[in-house]
Structure formats: structure tokens, C-alpha cells
Symmetry: C2
Subunit: 632 residues, 2 copies
């Protein structure tokens, strides 16, 4: 928008070099003379306002991807950004401008799941660039809005070719073919930039072809701006510039490093001065100008992009409608209802011999460490909901008979139980007393995560051994069994697929996840999620996590037979697809259940490739026709 | 009981020395030839079946002590031992005989709180031997029962003179005067042994007058058996014998150590062979006999005491009524109701300017890290309830208006948030939006605990600094404030007492604690708890934690002015005490609230000394007369 560009240019023109340098770092101070308020650029709201207290916590990204529902996704984005604004308004009123309280939010993560063992899979939209692009774009549109002003400024993560391993993610040097680069790693960014118009893009921590992304001119300028046509701002990841400076030898001084960043196309820096002797790298931009490493015009260009975002957020305006969003929307009943709907649609039914939906009078045993764990509901980068349901509490609300319950394994809390506790037997007792066993097993956000104090990647896609052992103990009882695979990525469910009456996949489902699960299990609503990830049948199907080639990875290039393919997912009904022509499909609900249904369109180029999807609601007996448009 | 002694003697007579040695260690194998089943002596049920899956989790011991209600305590014991038996029956049926699944339960802890910073205060009944003796005895009576057979075998902990510091608790060498030994440290054991007839006593980890308790003949035989008349069995603490062997020089060989234990009066050993090269110390008893360090008769004496307990538990009987207790009692509705009652009576009202009870239409903000934390409800040595309420969820159920909520500080979960989150501001927002702020602040079971991987003692009785900071921020808003001090011990509430409209103390209140708190806050029931601990006004009032003299400690000997004295606690009513004679008091409910009331009788010898208490229920206007009997 031209007026914001003009406003930004005018502001930049009036700043001293010192002021400009401050404004290019995430803890930007106020410049009262120019009407500029203090602002902290670092916030996180990937599935609800994160790390900033009270918030509606929606299912994590991988779960929302499973809904294959862009309309719902856009509504979620709209609610989340309402909460971002409501909190921001309240903070500003009180003079607070700290981290996680701002309007510029990191994410969505548009990196592709190359390997299901990667610790950050839960933060992604899965393995398919088409799906990732559409879901990410819907979220960005919902969050930023379509008005004159942006409600939030979203920063796409992490550009580019970033998908683990977490251990040593900074030193990690990636090279891929141009084909893989554009078809796989950059494709979702390209779509989102074109259709979602995100405010920002964040360079990845890793190196690409020898050069750290934040100073990689090929990626940050040639690809991002010239090829993909991105005209927003870029913001480096937390401490990325300082970390890279301290770990590599491309720049000998802070001044050189800062100049390299700006010249490559990195605009604003989320700094971490603890790594560089208390001094932020960008502080040396004055020296860089003095030494002729960069011109003030180059700095102005970067800063104009940054300031344009602040203008477009209405931060200097009197007529920004978002200033009036009340704190009442935070964690409100309306958002809770939408959250439950999204959680329902994120649950994937993988097998059902007819046992589901369950009768409410069924005597059930709920078994597993994921059954009653708040953090399993919330995932990571979460806020604090004032209420939440766990799978156990959701089921307890619906069942007319007392629900048997056993964790089966000791918890992972820091102040948990002694390791010599033997709770497996509890599971056997609970199972014996029930007619149907529902397992909630898999991973928690501690088993798989971003690199922090430990390597966040999983070593295997198998169920953790202690859980598999309990599963075997209970299986021996010969009860009817429903297995809910919980976690943020892929779990090998080969034996569960053979042995259980029903199998479901549930990622980290948000604060309404327990009630949503009960809705599905007891038939208040039909499942309609589909897999955003290939469920491989064994670890040995996977190339090493360090191998960045797409060969033998994802549904497109995997040569083996998956346990469940990408896009797989059942409903309680029976939907017939009649393809009338290439882009038109007639859907008929031939079953006895009203249901949402995601219809997927694949092409063969020559590999199988998702090229369209649509989520529709079909009453029993209802017919609807869906026509796909080419939206590339 | 003579018949059990005969049975035990007869069994011992038929065993080989090898068998005898096995039976003296906690993982006792079966001797099918004699009809003896495998049995694991190590279980924990101090406030509900601990570390063994599903269970009703009652308030922790310090909280139950605050009820000053021995009848209720006995009922709790009865429920807990029903659950112990129900679980044991189920395990036996399935052939499981593992740790935490047996009938011999460690506890209650009858150690006296000498210093409120000790990490294990939550596990005690407070600072007064009279109260401790009565509450412990009620628990033992409730658990063991009064029939021919014992429902459980309780093992009093930790004999003797044991009350921190946790760090280095094994090397810790205590000496106290004979007066302090008998009046303070041993008094509650003496009472409980006389009136509760506990099955067992456990020597403490520490040393007493240079000699580890487990080989301290003065303590374990002269005091315990000869002076206090104890005729049960003794069981050393987890790994106590191995730990002591590896840390001191009194015994050069395992054989010597084992002989010293038995000869001192320690019967059965909870072993930990990881510390002694894979060999349990007691395994060398055969060598000890061969070397003449001990006679087989001495071993027989110890083992007869042990086997007598097994007989009295009905383990070899056909007519034991407890074999029929069904698993249905575990975590059942009836136990939940009793649990809520005990939780209500454990909450102590310390100040009330009339703000309490609250109207259900009040717009409240709930603030603090203890408000919505499951582990704060459960304390330590806990089981897993299938349902629980937190303070937040309890209040949400009652309030007609949405409850504002802010944790205020980052959580301590291992997979929690980043440290640079600044949630304090959330608290300000929440408070601004409410008319009344209810703080739930204090300690969690991680801040104060048994020595594990860290020093479990607190360094201070002050509120953690980050919580005090939030309190100050919110205070500045000038709202009405209710402060609930949460945790297992004493917190300095000096400023809260001055500044808040109401102050309450709530220890770890069990799985119904949130609903019980709402019952109190909104006047469904009147508070009736009283302090089992002196609330000191500052750290400097306390002698060093390493000082074992009682000088200037507890309400008896403290020379300063406490913030709230031992035994303090208000109700919502106004109870008049008219002492008709030394042992008779007429109580009149002159207020407008039905309430439970604990009447306390003190004597001066010459220091103030609790010598009687009784809990009674008084309707509005009602009068009751209580007569105290000398029960020493």
C-alpha cells in the first residue's frame, strides 16, 4: 500500500543513524519526537497467543493441517489475532512492551516434513507443499485480515530448506538440487507470499550451500525477493545473527557481520547479546557505515520495509479499528467453541471394524501416559487456557459408567515419581474391569521438540518401549481395543493396525481436545481428518535424518508401502466420489451419518501430487458437487 | 496375639537359614513348601495409596493435622487401607508382588517439625508431639483396623530425632538432651505405640550420638522396646543398611554390618544392592553366623517378629475378611466425598475483615502459580486420582461470572516455557478486570521435598521473590485481596496479614482440594482448620536448621512474637468458650454460621503445652460441652 510506504519513508528520513540502528533490532525503543512507540518485535502465536499467559490454545499446526479445512483455519487465525490484539491493547494501555506481547508474530512454519523424526514436526503443516501452502495462507489471511490495516504481522518461518536435525542446527549445512529447492522446500513459501501477502519472512538458522541463511544473498534476495516477488520485511530468528557470528568465520567483526546481513536481505534482528559479550551485532552498523562496508541508503532500504509494517499495523494511526478489540475475547466461549470444532476435524480415523462410535453405556478403560496430561493437549509455544479437557476428562463427561483409568507408565515431570514404580500392572487391572480399552499412547512435547537443552529429534518412529510393553500386557487379555496414537508426528502403528478394533491419530489437540475426542469416540460427530504425513511402517523405511534429498521420502517419492498413506482418513459414513471430469467431483453420502468430508485431488507428474482439496459437510443421503480451480 | 506368635514361630522353625535370610529382606520370595507367598514389604500410603496408580489422594499429612479431627483422620485411614487391600487383592490375583503393591505401608511420619525450612514438613503432623501422636494414632487405627486381622501393617517413621537437613541426611549426626529426646522427639512415637499398636517402626537415616539409627542399640532396643514397650517389628529405610555400610567405618564387612543391625534391633531391611556391588548386606548373615558374629537364635527372634506381622495380616489365612474388598472402592465416590470433607477441614482462615465468604456473583481474579497446578494438589508420595480439581477449576464451578486467571510466573515443568517470558503483567491485567483478587501463592512439592537429586530444604520462609514481586504489582492496583498461602510448611505472611482483606493457609490439599477451597471461599462451609505450625514473622527468628536444640523453636520455646501462633484459626462464626472447670469447656455458637470447631486445651508446665483437643460441630445458637480426659 503506497500510503504506508510513504509514511515509512518519511519516518526513516527523520531518524538519526543511531535511531535507525535501534529500530532494526527487536527491542525497538520509542522515538517520541516522531510519535514512534516502543515495540518488541518478538511474539509467538502459531496456534493461539503463545507464552503470554491466558489464551485459547488451538490444536498445534500439524493437527490443524489434518483438518484439510482452509475456511476453518482462516477462522482460527482470525480468533487468534483478535486475542493478540486484545492483549496488546491491554499491555499498551499499561505501558508494557515486552517480549511475546506484540503484534508481529513468528510463524506459521512453512517448512516441509522431510523426516518424521524431526523434533519440530508438530509445528508444521506436514509433508506436502501444496497443503502447507494452503493451510499457512489461510492462517495468515485470518490473522492479518483483509482491511486497510493489518491485525497482526505474520513472519513465515524458516527460510529455507530447514527441517532438522535439531542437534547442531546452526552449523548444519544443506545443499539440495534446484528442483528439490523449488518443488519441495520453497513451494509453500511461494504460494503463501503470492496469496497470503505475509508481512515478513524469517531466515532459517542453518546454512544453505555453505552460507548461513541470514547472510545468504541467493536465498534472501535472489530467491525470496526476485523470484518469489516478496516485498515485505525479514526478521532473523532469535539470536541468529549473534550465534552465526560466534560460530563461523565469514565475518571477522560485528560490523562486517551486520553489513553482510543487511546486504544479503536480512532486515531486522532478534538479538541475543549474551553470546557476544553484551553487545548486539547490529549495534556495529554505525561502524560498518564508517568503514564503508555498507551505505546508509542500504540501511534505509531495510528500515523502510520494517517501518512500513509498523505503519500497516496502524501503530501511528488514530483510526485503527483493532485498537478497540476488548480483552473479553481472550479465552472466550466463542473461541472455545471454534477450538472444539477444529480439534474434532483434526482427529483422523485410520481403522474401524465397526466398534466406533461407542455406546455411552460402554464400560471403558482409558490407558496410557497421554490420557490425562495437560501438556499433551497444549503442544509447545502455547498459552495458558483457563479451562481445558484431557482425553480422560472428556470421556468421563460422556460415559454413564465409571471410567477405568491407568497411566501405565511413570510421568516425565521433574518432580514425578520414583523410577522403580511399576504401574504397568495398573493397566492390566483397569483393562480387566472394562469391556473396551482405549489406549492414549505416543509422544509428548518433551519427546519431540525444538533444540533447547537437549536434542529434540526422536531416534525412532516406534512407540516408546515402555508403552509398547504395556500395550502387549493388555493385549494379552483379549479385550476390544481402540488405539489413539498421540503426539506431533508419525508413530509406527503396524501391530495396532493388525490387532486393534479401531485406530485413530490425534496430534496435540489444544485445550478442547479431550472433549473433541469424546465427541468423536461416542459419535457426537464423525471424524473427518486426513493424514498430513505418510505413516511409515518401520524405521528402516527412512533414509538417515541427515539426508536432505527427497529421494524415498514423503508420499511423492517413497518407494515402499506405507502403513497409512498421506491423505488417508475415514469417516463414520460412506462417501462416494464420482469424478465427473478432471476438476469436478460429485460426492454422495451413502452412509448413515452426517459428516464433514475432505475430498482430495491428486495429479501424476509423474509422481503422485496433491493439487486440490476441499472440505464439505454432507448430511445423510446428501449429494454435493465440488469443482476445483487451478489456484497456483 | 498369641496365636499369631505361635504361627510365626512354627514357620520360622521350619525354615533353612538361607530362607530366613531371604525373609528378612523386603523382596521376600515365596516358600511354597510352607504356604508362604512372595511379598514385597515396601509400600507407601501416607495420604492415599502412593505410587501405585489409581487412588484417592487425600490432603497431605500436614494438612490433615490442621483439621485437629481424629475421628475424620481415622475414617481417612480406613478408606486408604480399603484401597490398599483392594489393590493388593487384585495384584495377588494376577500374580504381581512388586514394590508399592503390598500391605506393609511406610508411615505415618511422626517426626516433629523442628524447623519449617525442612523439606519433609509436608509429610509430618506439625511441630507438636501431642497433636502428632494423636493424629498419627488415629491414622494407624483407621488403617490397621480393630479386628482379628490387620488390614495393613503401618511402620512409623523415622525413629528417631530426624528432621533435616535433607542434604547429607545420612552423615547427619544428632545429639540432643534426654529431656528433648523424650519430650519432643520420641513422645509422639511413645503415644502411638501405646494407643495405636502399629505393626512396625523404621529407624531413621541419620546417626544419633555418633551411631547410625539402624545399628543404634540404645534407640532401637533400649528406648524403643524397653522404654516404650514396642513389641512389633522394625524395618530399615530404603537402602539404609547399604548406604550406611558404604559411608561409615563401624563395620568392615557386610557380615559385620548385618549382625550389628539385627543385634541393635533392626529386623527387616529394605535393600539397595546398587550401592554395594550388587550384593545385599543382609545376604551376608550366613557368613555372620559362621563367623560367630551373631547366633541363629538372634536371627530367629527378628524373623519371628517379621513373620508375626504376615500372620496378623491374614496372609496365610482363609478367613481374612479383607480378602473380599473389591477394587470398586479404589478412587470411589464415597472416598471422594470424605476427601472433600477432610480438605475443607484442613484449610485455615488466618484473617478475615468480613470479605469472606464471597458472594457467588463476585467478579474475581485468580492469580498465582499454585492456582492451577495438579501437583500442588497432590503433594508427594501420591497416587493418580481419576479426577481432581485445582483451586481455579473449583472456583470456576461456583462463580457465576467468568473468572479472570493469571499464573503470574512461568511454570517449573521440565518442558515449560522460556525464562524470558514476562507473565507478571498478565496478573495486573487479570486483577484490573476483577473486583476481588484471590492469590494462590507459595511453594510446590518441588520447592520443598525429600532429598533426591537436590537439596530439598528451603533456604527461607519468605514467599519466592518472583511471586512477591507479582503480589506487589497487583497490590498497587488497590483491589480487595484474599491471599491463600499454599505449600507444605510455613510461609512468612507478614505483609499479606497487613495488606489483604483475608488470609488463608492451605497445605497440599489432595485431589478434591480445589472444590473444598471453593466451598470455604464462597461459604458452602465454614473453615475450621488450625495451624499445626507456628507461623514465624521472619527468617531471622529461626535458629540455624542444623541446630537440634529446641531452644527458641516451636510455640513452646519460641521467645519472639509469631505472626500467627500454633493452633490459630478462625471460623465464619463466633464460638464462645466458657471453661467450666479445668477439663470441661462449654462451647456456644454465637455467630450466624454453622461450623466445625476445634477446641484446644493448653497447660503451662511452665511452657505452654497442648494437652487436649476436640473437634465438634455447632449449629447457629447451639451449645455443647466438651470434657477432656487425660489420655496420656
Amino acid at each position: 500500500m503506497k500510503e504506508f510506504l510513504q509514511e515509512a519513508k518519511s519516518l526513516v528520513d527523520q531518524m538519526t543513524l543511531e535511531e535507525k540502528i535501534n529500530m532494526l533490532q527487536h527491542e525497538a525503543p520509542a522515538i517520541p519526537r516522531l510519535g514512534i512507540k516502543a515495540f518488541n518485535w518478538w511474539s509467538e502465536s502459531p496456534h493461539g497467543v503463545g507464552r503470554c499467559g491466558l489464551a485459547t490454545v488451538f490444536p498445534q499446526s500439524i493437527a490443524m493441517a489434518a483438518s484439510f479445512n482452509t475456511d476453518l483455519m482462516e477462522q482460527v487465525g482470525d480468533c487468534v489475532s483478535d486475542e493478540v490484539r486484545a492483549k496488546y491493547n491491554e499491555y499498551v494501555k499499561q505501558g508494557f512492551t515486552d517480549i511475546y506481547q506484540g503484534l508481529s508474530v513468528c510463524g506459521p512454519v512453512l517448512n516441509i516434513v522431510r523426516d518424521p523424526r524431526w523434533g519440530r514436526v508438530p509445528e508444521t503443516y506436514g509433508e506436502d507443499p501444496y497443503l502447507t501452502g494452503r493451510m499457512g495462507t489461510a492462517y495468515v489471511k485470518g490473522m492479518q485480515g483483509s482491511g486497510k490495516y493489518w491485525k497482526t504481522a505474520n513472519i513465515l518461518e524458516h527460510f529455507a530448506v530447514h527441517s532438522g536435525p535439531e542437534n547442531g542446527r546452526l552449523e548444519w549445512d544443506v545443499d539440495v538440487t534446484e528442483k528439490d529447492l523449488f518443488e519441495t522446500y520453497v513451494s509453500a513459501f511461494a504460494y503463501c507470499i503470492k496469496h497470503g501477502k505475509p508481512a515478513g519472512v524469517m531466515p532459517a538458522y542453518n546454512r544453505f550451500r555453505g552460507v548461513p541463511c541470514c547472510i545468504n544473498k541467493y536465498l534472501m534476495t535472489e530467491v525470496l525477493r526476485n523470484k518469489l516477488g516478496f516485498d515485505g520485511f525479514t526478521m532473523t530468528d532469535a539470536g541468529e545473527v549473534e550465534l552465526n557470528f560466534s560460530m563461523q568465520t565469514l565475518a571477522k567483526t560485528h560490523a562486517e557481520m551486520a553489513a553482510l546481513c543487511i546486504k544479503a536481505g536480512s532486515d531486522l534482528s532478534i538479538t541475543d547479546k549474551t553470546l557476544t559479550g553484551g553487545k548486539r551485532v547490529y549495534d556495529s552498523l554505525r561502524m560498518a557505515v564508517a568503514q564503508g562496508l555498507i551505505t546508509e541508503e542500504e540501511i534505509d532500504l531495510a528500515l523502510t520495509r520494517v517501518m512500513q509494517v509498523r505503519c500497516r499495523l496502524g501503530m501511528h494511526a488514530e483510526d485503527c479499528e483493532f485498537d478497540r478489540i476488548s480483552y473479553d475475547v481472550v479465552d472466550c466461549e466463542k473461541h472455545r467453541r471454534l477450538n472444539r470444532k477444529m480439534a474434532q476435524e483434526s482427529i483422523i480415523l485410520l481403522k474401524n471394524d465397526g466398534i466406533l462410535p461407542l455406546n455411552k453405556e460402554t464400560k471403558v478403560a482409558v490407558i496410557g501416559p497421554c490420557a490425562d496430561d495437560k501438556l499433551v493437549m497444549l503442544g509447545n509455544y502455547y498459552g495458558y487456557p483457563s479451562r481445558y479437557s484431557t482425553f480422560l476428562s472428556g470421556i468421563q463427561k460422556v460415559c454413564t459408567k465409571p471410567v477405568e483409568f491407568a497411566r501405565g507408565v511413570t510421568p516425565t515431570d521433574a518432580y514425578g515419581e520414583r523410577p522403580n514404580e511399576t504401574p504397568a500392572y495398573e493397566a492390566v487391572i483397569a483393562a480387566r474391569r472394562a469391556d473396551v480399552v482405549i489406549f492414549f499412547m505416543g509422544n509428548n512435547p518433551y519427546d519431540e521438540s525444538e533444540e533447547c537443552d537437549y536434542d529434540g529429534d526422536r531416534k525412532t518412529i516406534d512407540l516408546p518401549e515402555n508403552q509398547q510393553a504395556i500395550y502387549e500386557l493388555v493385549k494379552a487379555l483379549g479385550k476390544k481395543m481402540i488405539f489413539v496414537s498421540v503426539g506431533g508426528s508419525v508413530i509406527n502403528l503396524s501391530c495396532q493396525d493388525k490387532e486393534c478394533n479401531a485406530v485413530l491419530q490425534c496430534y496435540y489437540p489444544g485445550s478442547e481436545g479431550g472433549d473433541a475426542m469424546a465427541d468423536i469416540l461416542f459419535g457426537n460427530t464423525s471424524p473427518s481428518g486426513r493424514l498430513p504425513l505418510t505413516v511409515y511402517a518401520k524405521d528402516t523405511d527412512l533414509p538417515p535424518i541427515t539426508d536432505y534429498s527427497m529421494k524415498n521420502r514423503t508420499y511423492k517419492f517413497f518407494k515402499g508401502t506405507p502403513l497409512y498413506p498421506f491423505g488417508y482418513g475415514l469417516t463414520y459414513s460412506d462417501i462416494r466420489e464420482d469424478w465427473l471430469e478432471e476438476n469436478t467431483v460429485k460426492l454422495t453420502n451413502c452412509g448413515s451419518f452426517d459428516t464433514d468430508y475432505a475430498v482430495l485431488k491428486f495429479e501424476y507428474i509423474p509422481y503422485k501430487n496433491l493439487c486440490g482439496f476441499e472440505k464439505v459437510f454432507l448430511k445423510k443421503g446428501e449429494t454435493k458437487t465440488v469443482t476445483f480451480r487451478d489456484d497456483r
